[in-house]
Symmetry: C2
Subunit: 146 residues, 2 copies
């Protein structure tokens, strides 16, 4: 069984990102793999529906800037070059799948709260990423209910 | 980030089990972890509902024997001692969670077809195992739609 060659760590920029990042760095290091980092900013009109005619553009811009800063903070911490940091916008699962395919990643690492029941039906990023992924997915358990 | 110490590979005994097992062996070897193997036989009355008064006991016994042989074939192939092979009966996700907790496993490895949409709603083992797991879960992509 060959090692993983290209690992894509999808992080949410909360403090829980650290667990995902630490695991990704450990896996990439033991497999001698190329490590990429991605964060997907979900447009506010996607998250809050498009029915209410509100202008989210200035808030969105702020979110984008904050996300950029955070992503680079994590990348620096993990010694990941800027060229391997990806800040995207859209539906997290679709964006992660698209990027992993274009990078030909063979492993996606994502945080998971281990939700079940209603929380699962409402959707989680780990769940969305797992389904439809064309490569292996490692769900790293995060959160206080660990 | 410490290595994984105890890995539980959940296999379905189809030819797809090989990919899961190969990955589990590679991970256990690189992390120097204890590797356990589990297969869960789903009782026919669970799979086919309990409303029809049918006696499945002889078929169930046959399934159990075949599962035992298959599990030991895979265990031998991967050099896993019998004491670390677990043949259980019940709901796959619940049984895998229970065993992983009693073993204090820190990683569960399971096969995933990457199903989405309706197939996801109907449930997959990877999905069931991911949700509610108290440790990390690695879903290894298997199947022709890889």
């Amino acid at each position: 069984m060959p090692n993983y060659r290209c690992i894509l760590a999808a992080i949410d920029l909360s403090e829980e990102a650290e667990a995902v990042l630490d695991r990704a760095v450990a896996m990439a290091s033991s497999d001698n793999a190329e490590l990429h980092l991605v964060h997907v900013v979900e447009p506010l009109n996607l998250a809050y529906g498009g029915d209410i005619p509100m202008d989210f553009s200035s808030v969105q811009e702020q979110l984008q800037t904050q996300a950029e800063e955070s992503l680079h903070h994590y990348a620096k911490r993990a010694n990941i070059p800027t060229a391997r940091c990806h800040l995207l916008s859209g539906r997290p699962d679709a964006q992660v799948h698209e990027l992993s395919e274009s990078l030909e990643a063979d492993l996606i690492i994502v945080g998971s709260h281990g939700r079940k029941g209603l929380a699962l039906l409402l959707g989680s990023t780990a769940n969305g990423v797992l389904h439809g992924a064309t490569c292996d997915v490692l769900a790293v358990r995060v959160g206080q209910d660990k």
